[in-house]
Amino acid sequence: MIIPMKKAQIVVLKEDKDKLLESLQKSEVLMLVSSSEKELNVDLSFEHETLKRTEESLQVIKEFREKPKFVREEFVVDYDNFVSDNPRRLELLDLIEANNARIGELNLENENLNSEISFYQPWETLNVKLNELDLPKYAVVHTGFVLNHNLDNLCEHITSMGGDYRALSTSARESALIFACFVDDDKELMDYVKTVGFVEVNFDRLEASPAEIIESKKAKINENLKEIEKLTSELKAYSLEADELLVLSDKLASDVELKTAPVEETYSAVYLLGWVRSDQVEKLEKTIKKTTSDYDLEILDPAEDEVVPTATKNNKFVSAFEPITNMFSIPSINDVDPNPVMGFWYWMIFGMMMGDAGYGIMMVFLMRFLIKAMKPKGSTYKMYKMLFYGGFATILWGILFNSYFGYTLGEIVEFVSGMKIEVLFKPIVLNPTVDIVQYLVLSMVIGGLHLISGYLVKAYADMKDGRFVDAILDNFAWIFLLSGLGLIFVPSEILNKVGMALAITAVAMIVLTHGRKSKNIFAKLGGGLYSLYNSVNVFSDILSYSRILALSLSSAIIGMVMNILAEMVGGGKTVIGIFFAIIIYIIGHIFNLVMGLLSAYVHDSRLQYIEFFGKFYEGGGVEFKPLSMSLKHIDKIEKVEI
């Protein structure tokens, strides 16, 4: 049911503005709209910046937090705690950020130290302080790398020129070499060593030997590692307070909602304009009264051409199917709420398409478990709930088709107890894999009834708007035609005659009246004939319901094939055979269930969108979204006093 909307104009003193908005956010009754074109100019940089920081900090401490349990616990926060602006939250942010930054610095430093160590590593055996390399007055000392295959050549040359050398370490490719020669020979020797590919390495002339340098750098690395460990254990401690950050994140997002609420301000007063559900007007007034006694509230009816948001109120069952309609288009305020009728048919057809009691039981348990474990919110919750209800329809049709995981009840009873009860082998309505023609007829009858209910909703909508002539002539003509043609195929002579009469009346109604909106007599007749031609569309709509048969059949046959495969494997009654048979049963039926759910969801939706909604539904509405707290992490806020 679509709830009528009222427009609320509120004027309060400026000093009450924040308090009022807060209580409106708590009570979730008013959807504020902008009353002027003027763009809101609020500074949200703190909120956005802090939100980003919170998410980043949460990411940092994520690895230290407890792994979420399979069945998630509900995250409940008291309202007072939620709005308390606990300074510890921002403090936590600073602490986590500081620690994380310091850890990053230390890691970077260690990386640099490590690369420096690997620079000195080849020279580790050089037992000389580096600044001592410059000491000799008449000799020059060179350090560097030379390729292994040139090493002998080079050494020979150095010796021949009266110099001395030592190879310090050797890798697979090159050797670290230190050599000395007389000052006078230096230029000549250096010219030569370049030709054999000697690469000189220049050290900072430190007052320490390479081994000492390496030692000191290693010590520094260890020191850093210890600090990292300490910082990490601190982070671990902070991660115990992660809930505070989650609250902060949701609080900030809710603050953004508050700050961006469109409010007109004058020097001393503020003006709020918004939509309120007509059954919540009193609640709105109560909310305002509680915040301030100086207020002016005016409740208006929406004007003719205004865009009014839509709120629907349905029982638990129907509201589970609302997301299906909303995904197509949100009902507009002028529509009749399609959900009650649509929900029933969606449920019914979903069950037919799945059509197996075993799968239905799995759906019911699986969805019940998922809702418990994941605690979804909003439309995800409704989707799960819809599949949960769909499970019962699936069980219902599964019983009617006598299909339990692809077996008949008789087969299962025979397997378990050895008794052969003839009755249990037969389906109650029909067997989808055998009585295909009957099933095709059943699908189309369901389709016909579905379409007729669509025309009835349209007729109801027309009558509600006072267009009685349109309601009868346009919609009942099609209802008569569909039911008349249906009756012709019933094996009963009287009903055949009734059907024939209905169909002829319908055709006459269509040809004679459907062109009534044209002025010219020929156009009137032409319009009628054209409308009759449209019956082709109606029949193709009905044929479209044959997909119920196709999907039901494909699900049934795949289930059957899995059973045949499992029986073939497990038929020998060996342990391995039975083991693989069980695996085939489990995987095969889960695969079939998932594919069946996908197809049923898609094609059931399609039947609603194209065939059913095409008859009456316009949609194009805007969802009623009252000012509320924006909760991403918190499941529930408790002790909210309104």
Partner: protein
Amino acid sequence: MSGLLIAIIGAGAAAILAGIGSAIGVQMGGKAAAGVLSEKPELFGKVLILQALPGTQGIYGFIVAVLVFIGIGVLGGTPENLTTDQGWQYFGACMPIAIVGLISAVLQARTAVSAIHMTAKQPDSSARGITMVALVETYAILALLVSILMVLGLNQGLSA
């Protein structure tokens, strides 16, 4: 050629062609979906459905093949002795889902790719995308029905 062989070729064609169509289709959808997910990983559920839609034709072909196998006794290990005519009858019955399955899967995939791109820009309109993609599948379903009705008719003729 023996009738049995012709019937098996027909059943094989149903599974092969429709399967190829679906494989191509799901692959096309998968490529588009992966591109979208690289930017918006939160849309996984929505684009996965769109990607999976062209996958059903392969299942339809598989179903018809299995129905043929059941009819001609290949599955039970005691093949029927079909005449050449009967073999061609089965072959013909397999053709609708084989051909329509192949082509409709690829065409459906093109719609699915567009719908995936649309979902990337407007996540709320994914249901509309699903509907548009499902419209293409109608013809695969009709072909499946035609094939099934023919195969079942032939199976009944055989067992009678």
